[in-house]
């Protein structure tokens, strides 16, 4: 079933009546995702595009639709509250797309999510897609192909780049996940690697990291000890100077920690096949799997 989402996933959207929420919900429906409801406080009883029922609360949406996943497009000031509402209503998978949630709001929100036992993807992430089955998030569905390679990254477009490199080589994806670029996120590299390791539909994984923090080192240590599948690794930000934030709130080298060299070292020590050029991710996977490549290009 790949990981996290498949054709049985029943999704609701918090913030479905906003412009970003509405736009992406239409895209998700067009891809075939089972969007069973939306939540906007005060608009309960109405419908989105005449087809999707809208509820006032997540609890009500879960009771009436049997939803087991939510995607959040609520503005930053209210997004942490939306995450907590979803966790409190017993939603299993919470995908928070919203960018710019204050850290002070995320600390208690993440604490509550863990106590309720939900899985949180993001915030500030592109989402998750199991090609041909379910797309939750803002990624362009058409670049993906069903297949057996897992992809894990923080950011959107760098994930798309990896997907594209694989698709061009004729290699499809089991699930592609962007976990988000914020300092506080739910699922981390290590958690997703564990899921890919246990997934019978995934043969190999591309793990893309970024400078800052220590999540890549933690994940590498886990991979070294437990992973039974080949992993290709790339770290973005080798050229970033210390002390400067590279777009993502989490991508900053501080106090000499979080450099790409440290992360590559941890990856190499764990037996991960590292590539130092982001253009080589797909080729490396193909090489490892002994895939027949007809059009390798320059």
């Amino acid at each position: 079933m790949a990981i996290l989402v498949d054709s049985d996933t029943r999704l609701i959207c918090q913030g479905i009546t906003g412009s970003a929420g509405g736009f992406h919900c239409r895209q998700m429906i067009a891809y075939g995702t089972r969007l069973v409801g939306g939540v906007t406080p005060g608009k309960g009883g109405t419908q989105f595009d005449g087809t999707v029922p809208i509820f006032n609360t997540v609890t009500e949406a879960v009771a009436k639709t049997g939803a087991n996943a939510t995607v959040i497009f609520v503005p930053p000031a209210f997004a942490a509250d939306a995450i907590m509402e979803a966790a409190d209503a017993g939603i299993r998978l919470i995908v928070a797309i919203t960018e710019g949630i204050p850290v002070r709001d995320m600390i208690p929100a993440w604490d509550l999510v863990q106590r309720r036992g939900s899985l949180l993807l993001g915030p500030n992430c592109p989402g998750v897609i199991t090609p041909g089955q379910c797309k939750i998030g803002i990624m362009p569905g058409h670049i993906h192909r069903p297949g057996r390679i897992g992809i894990l990254s923080r950011s959107g477009t760098l994930t798309y780049e990896a997907v594209h490199q694989l698709s061009v080589l004729g290699l499809g994806q089991s699930t592609a996940i962007g976990i988000g670029g914020d300092p506080i996120i739910g699922l981390r590299h290590k958690d997703v690697m564990r899921l890919f390791n246990e997934d019978p539909d995934t043969d190999a994984v591309i793990m893309i990291g970024e400078i800052g923090g220590s999540a890549e080192e933690e994940a590498s240590a886990w991979v070294g000890a437990h992973m039974r599948k080949p992993v290709v690794g790339f770290i973005a930000g080798a050229t970033a100077p210390p002390g400067r934030r590279m777009g993502h709130a989490g991508a900053i080298i501080s106090g000499g920690k979080g450099t790409s060299e440290e992360k590559y070292k941890a990856m190499a020590a764990a037996g991960i096949n590292i590539v130092r050029s982001p253009a080589e991710m797909g080729k490396k996977i193909a090489e490892i799997l002994g895939h027949q490549i007809e059009h390798l290009g320059a």
């Binding site: 208690p108 950011s155 959107g156 130092r276 050029s277 253009a279």
Partner: protein, 411 residues
């Protein structure tokens, strides 16, 4: 967002935390007035810049260039005076302020170019029994606030962290409970404090945590926190930075922003919601998405050149944003070629191609431009560029783009 020491201390005072008497001044005469107002026999004049290491820093023009270079490397024991000066008369206060205001201070954190001093802080002098380091920030591994304290205050804490991390005491704050008194006491005894200093430290640490929370700080650093001759504690320096994502609910803090301390190009980029960081190389980059933007910088280096900037135009890049981005990139005289790398997702490549062309027509093109488009409507996008009549160098993949732009700068 960073603020100055005098502003940080004002925030501490608002929360009822005792500080030394002091005031900011923008002229030597103003500094003398502040000193007269706070009275006493000893004053300290401190340059107000958004960089640490002020005491060990040196002023351009006051000392020889090789001393300035040594100051930028953080070397100690240099000749001349730094950005923190002890004064024993009103006249000395005036002279210190005169020397600093308008001058360029170079410290380990400013880099070799230094930063201009526009404001000084004049504070009463005090006797110091001990110096302690205290800081709070987000512990990313735990996703909670961490409070750090070290008996090695005043010195370079990065050195302590690198060489003897065991000397930095830590406690993690439970978001439900807040910073517990027992946790603050643990730190106090761990630092070797005793007598009335323990409760003074506990009270002050909890005050710092309140300041950290109510102002949405991302870092609060007191280095040093001093133990006074009578066993009390006082913050001698204060550095506070705020979570940019939370400034929407703190208009009062936004007003503390000192634009003179920030890079003009980065301010301009911020207006258009672009994320821009100036770097030292020769290849200007325009990319959508932070991860892909970093990867694009990396592949330039992989092919042997250096990026001139990080620039993320974001997911919803329109014509206006692309034009603004082009202007910012081309304003940098070091830029010898430009690489545009856009992976069109929801954003369509044909729309982006139109944006790039509009920007080039408006801004002009003095250097080679390599454009790599991929994703939604890529064929339409490439066709628009090819038929534009402009000398845009098309590229098919990241490696193709990088090798072409590197070849272009090498002529």
């Amino acid at each position: 967002m960073k603020i100055h020491e005098f502003q940080a201390k004002e925030l501490l005072r608002k929360q009822g935390i005792a500080t030394l008497k002091g005031g900011a001044a923008h002229t030597p005469e103003g500094a003398a007035h502040v000193a007269q107002f706070i009275e006493g026999q000893i004053w300290v004049v401190k340059a107000q810049v958004h960089a640490g290491g002020r005491g060990m820093g040196r002023f351009v023009g006051e000392v020889a260039p090789d001393v300035i270079a040594a100051a930028s490397r953080g070397e100690g024991g240099l000749p001349g005076k730094g950005g923190v000066r002890i004064c024993r008369s009103i006249n000395e206060v005036r002279e210190a302020a005169q020397a600093m205001l308008g001058a360029t201070l170079v410290t380990k954190q400013t880099g070799p170019d230094g930063t201009r001093v526009n404001c000084v802080f004049v504070e009463e002098g005090t006797r110091i029994a001990r110096e302690i380091y205290v800081a709070m920030t987000l512990d990313r591994a735990q996703s909670r606030v961490v409070v750090m304290a070290s008996a090695e205050g005043g010195t370079e804490i990065e050195e302590v962290a690198a060489h003897s991390p065991e000397k930095i005491l830590r406690c993690i704050v439970d978001p439900v409970v807040g910073l517990g008194s027992w946790q603050a006491r643990d730190l106090a005894f761990g630092l070797g404090l005793s007598g009335p200093t323990v409760s003074a430290f506990v009270k002050m640490l909890q005050g710092f945590y309140q300041v950290y929370q109510i102002n949405d700080c991302s870092m609060l650093e007191i280095n040093p926190l001093i133990v006074t001759a009578d066993g009390g504690v006082l913050p001698l320096d204060a550095k506070i930075t705020f979570d940019e994502n939370a400034l929407f609910r703190h208009p009062d803090l936004e007003a503390l922003r000192d634009l003179a301390e920030e890079d003009p190009s980065e301010i301009e980029a911020g207006k258009y919601n672009l994320s821009y960081v100036k770097l030292d190389g020769t290849i200007g980059c325009m990319v959508n998405g932070a991860g892909l933007a970093m990867a694009t910088m990396d592949i330039i280096k992989f092919y042997g050149e250096e990026p001139a900037n990080f620039l993320d135009v974001g997911g919803g890049a329109d014509k206006e944003k692309v034009t603004a981005a082009f202007k910012i990139i081309t304003r940098d005289p070091a830029v010898k070629a430009i690489l545009v790398n856009i992976f069109g997702g929801i954003m369509k490549c044909d729309v982006i191609a139109e944006g790039v062309l509009a920007a080039v027509r408006e801004v002009g093109l003095q250097v080679p431009l390599v454009v790599r488009l991929e994703g939604t409507n890529v064929e339409m996008g490439k066709k628009i560029l090819a038929e534009s009549g402009l000398s845009v160098i098309p590229a098919d993949s990241m490696s193709d783009a990088a090798s072409k732009v590197v070849a272009a700068v090498r002529g």
